[in-house]
Symmetry: D3
Subunit: 292 residues, 6 copies
């Protein structure tokens, strides 16, 4: 099977025209005429993922994140991007990226995260450049915020940081908004959607705190202190898409398809994650370091 | 004591001209002639911090983060910023913010974090608009990355997310770079400083992973896989500055000064933080959800 | 009656979506749940207008000009904007602004000025962001420029500067273009509308002189030396809208509504306004100071 | 005498390098070799000024305002700028403009206005692009605002609009800031200069009102309600420079030099300038039109 | 015949609204009422073309290229643009420019070049601002690249530089894309049009070489090494439009119309144009200067 | 010899800090540890140059022009840039580019062109980002423009287009300005340098014609019709640098160094280069095609 044939199937699943204009998707390395017998799937095209591809004899790596989102001016091995391109080319390993076009596909990244949240029918969270970004839907029945987060955590691959939650663990959630990847630019859409909880990743202090303050102001005016926030981890939440992609490719192409065993989450371990803080209802809160 | 007198002391400690040009520091609410008897210190000017000030009878709140970094066009209570301004004014509580000017002061935010990291003498990490941002220094003696992170965690106030670490727990660290607050724009300076570990906060997936990939490429070329990364939490790492500020104000002003008891970290709890993941050397790694 | 109820009526009269994108309209201070019993109307939200509201017991001030067109970063009383916000909030006085959305409404600011000019049916002067700005119409019968200006002056509230006119006092005018507020960006539209006279305010030397030079060039090519210019004063011309608004609110809301007695025109008096210059047909023109 | 010789003297008086970067000064029309016997001086290069030059046989017009500040793409007579260029060229009349370079010269535009205000020694109001803009100085002895304005009006050429004043007629003024031409961008500098009154022109409603509100806020905080504002008229205030220029050229060049008799102020007459409003202390204020 | 009448006919032939937004077309000098008896046509409004107009008694020059594409701030004779404007005005010669509006007209500049290339029916190369730019069509029968270039050269006026060609002289060409004037921004459109050869002018080293490298890469992937490039000269290729314009004007207006005899191509002669290099199939290639 | 050693010598000859900020110089492909035995020098890194390097066994190509001046987002072989990167990497051929840093070096690109023009001592034409760009110098004795051009042509490698000249063949030239590569942005500097002739490349119709019109206007005012223009060809003029670089590398490194035999000038042949046009003094000028 030629690389061009695999690319053709990928572009049916994830049409490049559905990617956002700032994105860089498609074939990043390889010759359309080269043969493909084995494919490796991963969230990020890291050096270790490429080394795994070489080790297992994969001809093609498919990732969610682009290798060259910002253009490069050198492929010398003195930079990580250059070293990665060099490793790909000298080992005849092709690379294909499906990013925001995979986010919006169905099945796709947003849909996979919606399933993990327990949502069936969903509607778009927002629209950007004529594409529907993120999903919003109703749970079959309301659950507590803590139960919702634990159920989602069980569906995600294990990660060092786990799932961070902002809000009352006993608050009820029924309407869920979600956006794969970094989501701190879409709080206004989440509020317009009247979601009880927002599942996304890479939330930073200021946007998260400002969103919670808006919820607090709404509560003071007689409403609910929502949306709550769930940061599911960038790598973990987007890796949910890979098993579905593996099945799609296996059913359409006569190639071997595997999931990478490399965790490309940058975080290796966490310390100071106090047991009592995980249970804010515990009687004795920790008294450590500063602010005492 | 008039508010103007307190402001005068604060502007000696943290000259407004040392703030970055995009920042918004100084007196945010209040009349210079109003009396000040009691001061409350916090990282963020949230609604709950203002309510605490009202409850304890504080006339002035001093925070690190600006309330109005982006200009506002309304103080109606229909937005969180408007509700916060309204609460301050109707309760005669003044607000003063010292942000990037407090970061660069000595004593100040960067210096407090350096102390918590175990650094004595330090030099600047980088220079921006003629101000020294961040610090770099050598530990008294090398320690493992895990030991370094645990020591830092013990010095920080407890937080739901704890301290996230990227790198080999057994790797040795001696040279430390640090920057209070969100630090993912300064990786180039960290590499120039040849630091073994970079302590900061609010690191996102892409910048953190790209920084680790550069370290991985350096390792392939025969060097060390550094800098390691330590995300100490935005609120936790910057709250280290508050006790020192309390002492400074007590020694210079005849007012009562207290630390806020409100944790303004947006994260309330974490789930899925697997014990075995915290110890990557444990024999049986978790097998959950996707990617199995 | 709650503030929210008054806001609801105002947003029917002047839908916020009809404001220009750069404008800042709507509720600027106040809590939707606070009671409103008395309303004060003014062109500008100055400190003296707020003091008048406090003095007469008004709960709400409605103005044409936004208080916070440019965003603010502090409400400390050390700036006029901060002092105004503080006065409003500590006295529980709400503020609502209807600016370019009131300009385009009917009845509204443009319509009120058209009536004062003696126009019945009118059409739009130009269209910006899908909104009709300014009006153009025909007088019932032609009059001299001087008569036109005097009739308009009689309809305007008295002001120090009066009404400035550029053009031949004896020239005939029949077709009138007008734009409330500062109008020196719309001369091209006025020429396209083939108006004999343009009524607006805040005209500066260069735009006014260039517009008159175009009229002079047209005259040299055989046409009329028009459009003439009438600068009716920014405050005076926009205050024409207030009595109509008073009637609208009285008819729809059970609140007391008054017009502010504060003239917010910045000009207090004029000197050197020579009587002979007001009558350029007088025999002996003044011979003063320079250029003699 | 060749045009080049006149240009040489003008560039000694007003070096082009001292003009602001956005300005367009120097020779606008003419051939350096053409003869010059008679020169006409004016504030603006209008069609009537050019016609006067042709009528009196002037070979060169020198104006303060540039004819082509914005670049032109056509000199066809269908626009006023094109008609003016055409009239100049077909009649062999050259045009030279000295604008911001004349503002900053001594003697120059700023100095002439300072003299008319009664100032002897002055210092710069502000610095822009290394040039000193505007002047600040002390009167020989304090006078009331009304007396100051009347004295200035007597020194200015008569104009339809006269001199507009914002402030208490009986307020005392001693320290004067001034800027020829449109000055509503320099209020911050005027406040830094601690001037009692600011003399400039082309002040618009919003900047003037905001400046007066800052003065009002200062008064509330215990200071003086200053700076007062004096709008002396753009044409009138800048025409003060012309007689001095005439003397300079007569003393240095063997040419006839005259002042234009064309008033290029766009305003021809004023109506509704109520006598009682000119004297706000008069018992019965006018009750006209709206707001009654 | 008045100039206005000629302008009216020109604006029917080349509606100004069909010009690109950055262009500056229409009447550049002259008074609509002035008489026109004789018209001179040229590609560029140079000083020598104006001198020719004066010499032959032409009242109007019509050119393709705008005289004042960038706005000017002076018409003094010290610049070439000023000298040209002055020469036009003092000699009562009007100037009219039809540029991108003439490019897209039919008959027009693109159509004239298509005819010279031997194309009958054509379609647009690309669309910009709703206007069709450039043409694409099929030759009646395929010819070699050398024969195509020679046929085009025979149709063009003689020029110093001749016609430069990139590609195999013996390659077959059938589908032709063309764009009058500088065409190095439209290579992507040319590739989309699947043209064998692209005829345009003012091609620079980098864009031309990159376009040829794309053709080379296509050839390596099994395709043809096309499009070939033909640089026909900016002046020469656009002068093809003038004879047709002469006939159009003669048929519609009672004026004398002539073509300028001034070659406004800047290049006067070429040296080092080796005979053997013109015939790359010649046995002995030259061995000169560097690189030997 | 390692690639790192060659890079070290190249960075001494052409320090990267002397390149313009928009440029992209240095190591573009390769691993600093890979061995280098044979080096190939060329102006452009085309596919044929890389093929030549592979054919002759070169480990490193050094070119003047950057391969990746604009960043790339893919190295797939579907684009020429991607195909070139792939060919380099799969064949273990490194690429190094010295562009604007080689222009300004001595010996370097500008110096080599100055020598070919017959200049000994030179001074800079202009300064950009603290680097001296281009050269200006005096010939040992004046020559005619034709003789100057012919002497330069003899020093250049043969090219299809030869050397294009604008100006009187019999005009005398003594002072020469030059800039390697595309030079149509530096005409103002050339005029300031009072050069008789400007040698550069890639001159387009409009800039070249406007420069010649300024010369024509200067001539009308009594000066010389200069600077004349010489377009020496982008590839030809910059290839002059390569032989000197070969000698420098041979003297400093124990590697084999060769000049590429590939002409990377995009132009293959020229037609219609009429013999009589090359000699504008010939009696019978050609009468072809249009404009007859």
């Amino acid at each position: 099977m030629r690389l061009a044939d695999v690319v053709s199937v990928l572009e049916q699943l994830y049409p490049p025209a559905t990617a956002q204009s700032w994105d860089q998707v498609g074939l990043v390395a390889g010759d359309p005429e080269q043969p493909v017998r084995r494919v490796l799937l991963a969230v990020d095209p890291t050096l270790d993922v490429v080394a795994e591809a070489v080790a297992v004899g994969a001809d093609l790596v498919i990732t969610h994140h682009p290798l060259l989102l910002r253009g490069i001016h050198s492929v010398a091995t003195t930079s990580a991007k250059g070293a990665t391109v060099t490793e790909l080319l000298v080992n005849d390993v092709a690379l294909y990226c499906a990013h925001t076009n995979a986010d919006v596909a169905d099945p796709g990244v947003g849909q996979a995260l919606a399933s993990a949240c327990g949502l069936a029918a969903t509607e778009p969270l927002t629209v950007s450049e004529d594409q529907e970004l993120g999903r919003v839907g109703e749970l079959a029945e309301p659950v507590t915020l803590r139960a919702f987060a634990e159920r989602l955590a069980a569906a995600l691959p294990a990660s060092a940081g786990g799932v961070r939650v902002s809000g009352d663990p006993d608050g009820q959630v029924s309407r869920v908004a979600l956006l794969g990847g970094a989501g701190d630019g879409e709080f206004a859409a989440v509020r317009r959607a009247r979601a009880d909880v927002y599942v996304t990743a890479d939330l930073r202090h200021h946007p998260a705190l400002e969103a919670r303050e808006e919820a607090r102001a709404a509560q003071r005016a007689g409403g609910a202190p929502t949306p709550y926030l769930v940061d599911a981890g960038h790598w973990a939440s987007e890796s949910l898409w890979l098993p579905g992609l593996r099945e799609l490719l296996r059913s359409r192409l006569d190639v071997q398809v595997d999931l990478s065993t490399v965790r490309t989450d940058p975080w290796d371990f966490v310390v100071g994650c106090d047991d009592r803080l995980l249970r804010p209802d515990a009687p004795d809160q920790p008294e450590r370091g500063a602010l005492t």
